[in-house]
Amino acid sequence: MWKKMKRVKEFKSWKANETKQGDSLQGLIEKLKQSKDFVTYHHSGPTNCFLYYIKTINEQGFLHQSVLPILKNNALHTLDQIKDKIPVENITITSDLEEIRRKIMQGNIMIQIKVTDDEVLLIPAATVETRKVTTPEVEFSVVGPKEAFVESLDTNLNLIRKRLPLPELTVRELVVGKVSKTRVAIVYIDGIANMENVNTVLQRIGDIEYDQIIDSSFITQMISDNSNSPFPQLLDTERPDRISGVLTEGKIAILVDGSPSGLTGPTTIVEFFSASDDYYLTWHLASALRLLRLFAVIFSVLTTPLYVAILTYHHEMIPEDLMSTIITSRADIPFPPILEVIILELTIELLREAGARLPTKVGQTIGIVGGIVIGTAAVEAGLTSNVLLIIVALAALASFTTPVYQIGNTIRLIRFPFLIGAQWYGLIGISMCMAFFIGHLTKLQSLGRPFFAPLYPFRIRDLKDAFVRLPFNKQSKRPMQTRPVDSTRFNPKRANEKRDIDE
C-alpha cells in the first residue's frame, strides 16, 4: 500500500516537473540545453535572430545552403519576412508550445527573433539515417522482385506506392507509444477494402496503451484478436510485392516506422503457407509446392509424436519389415522413446537457437558441428536411435519450409504438446491434441474475420487460392475473407475470350 502511494507520488511530482519546465518556451529551451547535441546559435548581422536545432537529426547541409545565406544577405525583422524568403515548404509560425516541442524533436530548425518572444518559426530540416533497400533475407525468393522493406516508414511507403500508383491507395497515420511516439501507417485501397476492417484496425491501434513501439511485432501482439494464441493472427512480411498484392485483394497493411516488416490482415491460416513464389510460377507447380509445404508442416508436427505413440503403445502398427530395423536400433538405448525424442528435439532446438543468435559465419560452423558431430556421436554413444535421428532431422527440415517465419516458430512449439499427448495416451493423445488445436483454430479470428477460413467457414471461392492456386484467369473474384467492397478483379468473360486470330 505504502509502495503504491509512493509510486503515485513520484509520478505526480514527475508530471508537475514536466509542466513547470515545459509551460514556457524558455523552460523548453533550458531543458533541451542539457543535451550536448542541442545547438543554440545567436545570429547577428543584417538579420538578428536566434536559431535552435538538434544537430544530430538536422540536415546540416540544408541549414548552410538554404537558411544561413538568406539570413546573412537580407535584413529581415519579422518571422513572416523570413518565412517568405526561405525556399522550403511547410514552414510554420506558431506559439503553440506542444507543436514546437514535437517539431523540434522531429528535426525542425526553430528561429526566434528575440529571446523573450513566444512566437517562433519552424523550418523542417530533418534527416533520418536509414539502410538502403536490400534483397529480402527472411522471405527470399528465386524469381520475382527482390526488394525488401527497410526501417524507414517513408521508404517503405514509397516501395508500396510505386507498385500501386492510384489515388485510392490511402495511407492513414497514427502515432502510438507514449514515449516512442512511433508513426504507424495503415494502408488500404479505398473502394476495395472493407471500411469495417479499416475501422477495426484504426480503433485497435488507436487504443494501444503502451510506452514504446519498437517493431511491428509489438502491434501484432497488441491488436490480435486472441493474444494468448500461439498462432500469429496478422501476417508479417518484408516483401513490398506481397503487401501490394494483398492490398488489391482488399486487405489492410500496417507499417510501423522503424520496422522492416509490414503486417497484413485479415489473414487466414493457409496464407501462412503461401509464398510469393507461388504467384511467379505456373499454377500447377505452385499448387504442387503449396501442397508439399502443407504436407511438410503436418509431417513436421506429427512424425515425432507418432514415433513415440507407436513405439510405446501401438507396436502392431509397425510394418513387419521395419520391425527389426527399429528394434535393433533401439536395443541399446537406455531411455524410453519419449525421453529419446525430447533429448533429440531439444538438441535440434538448441542448434537452431544457437544458429540464430550467432554471427552468420560462426552460425554456419555451429550448424555443421551440431548436425554432423552431435548427431553421429549421439547415435554412436547409444543415446538415440538412427531411425529417430532421421525422423527428427526431417521434421526440423520440414518446419523450415514455411514461407512466413512467424508460423515456423509456432510449428516448432506446438510439436511438444503433441509429444506429451502421444506419451500419455498414444494415438488417442495425439488425436486429442489435434482436436484441441483444430478447435482453437476454428475459434480464432483475424481482425474479426475467421482465421480458419476457407475451411471453416467453408468457402469454395477462397479455395481457389488456398491449398492450390488456380490459374489467374480463374481468379476473377477477390477473396471473400476480406469482404471487399468491390469483389471483382476483372471481367472473366473478356479474360477467357478466345483470340484465335491474334497476330
Binding site: 502392431e316 530395423t325 528394434i327 535393433t328 536400433s329 500419455w424
Partner: protein
Amino acid sequence: MNSNVLRILLLSCFVFLLTACVPSTSVEDVDTILIAGYDYIDDEQIRGTISIPQFGRLETGGSMKEKYLSSTANTVKEVHAKLQTKSSKPLTVGKLALSLYNEELAQNGLGEVLDNLGRDPQVGRDIILGVVEGSTEGFIKGKYSETETAAKYLTGLIRGNMEKNFPTTNLHQFLYAYHAKGMDGYLPLLAQEENYVRLTGIALFQDGKMVHSIPFSKSFIFKILKEKFQQGTQEVEFKNRHIVMENIGSSVKYHVKGKGSDSKVRIDIEITGIINEVSSLDVLQSPKMVELMEKRFEKFFQKQCEIMVQDFQEYNIDPLGLGNTYNSQVRGFDINKWKEIYPSLPIEINVGVEIVETGIVS
C-alpha cells in the same frame, strides 16, 4: 485468477493424475508373438506354442533367430498366462500374423480359441488362421528359411496363393462366417514336409468344427464358386490333350427364389480366360476351336461345381454362404428351417466361359 485459467489448470491436473493407469512399454522391451499354434491334448487340455523373433543388436542382422515357447493348460487364456511365466519380457499379440490349430483341435471345435482372438483389439483382423495336419508345435519349430522368419515364410506362402487359386481367408472372414446365419467358414489346410510347407487343401467347418476338407486341386473350383477373382489357372482335358486356362476375371452371383420348402438357388458364373498352355501345338487355334474349347471348359466347370455343391449339401455345410444370401434377400428367414431344407435344396449352376486370347504363337 480468472475462472478460465483455473479451469484449464484443474483440467491439466486431472490429466496428470488420471493417467497412471495406461501401461506402456517400448517396442524393444516386449516379446512380440508372430505365430501361435494350438494342439489338442485331450478333451480338457490344449498345448500352445508360440514363436518370438529375436532381433540381433547389430544392424547387419545375419540370420533370423526365433525363440519358441510351449505350455499346456486347460484354456487358451491359461496357456497364455503360462507362456508368460517362461518369458523375460511381456508378451504381446499385436504383431500376430498366424494362428494355427492342429486337425484334431479343429475337429473338436475352435470356438474358444476364436473367441479369444475375436475379443482382443490388439489382434489384427487380417491375420491368417490355418489348420495343420499333425502337430503345430513341430510345424512352428520347423526351420524353413535362412533369411526370413517362419511367420513371414508362412504368411507369404498363403497370401501368395490367395492371389492365385486359393480363396481369400483371414480372421475377419472366418469370424463373419462363424457368427453369420447360414454360412460356414473354411480355413487353409497346411502340412509340413521335410523343410517346406505345402498348402494341401481347404478345411471346411460347421459351427466352428472342422467336418470336411477338399484337396488343393479343387481350390480353383471352390474359388470361382465363392468369389470374384483373377489370375488362377485350371487344367482341362481337351481332345486327349491338356490345355491350361488362366482366369483373367471371373464373377459369381447367387440368385435365390421361393420360400420355405420350394426355395431354389441359381449360381451364375462368368469366366473370362486366356489359354496359357496347350500340351501340343497342333491344336489349331482357329475361332472354331476356341469355341469348342469354351464349350469344353463350360461343361467341365459345370460338372465340377455341381459335384462340389452336392458334396457340401451332403455334409450339410454352407461355405458359400447361400443361406446368408437367402437371409439378406428373402423376408422371413428361419435358420432352423433352412438347415432342414439345405441338403435337398435344388441348386442350379450356370457357367459361361469366354476365351479372349490364345497367346502370341498364332
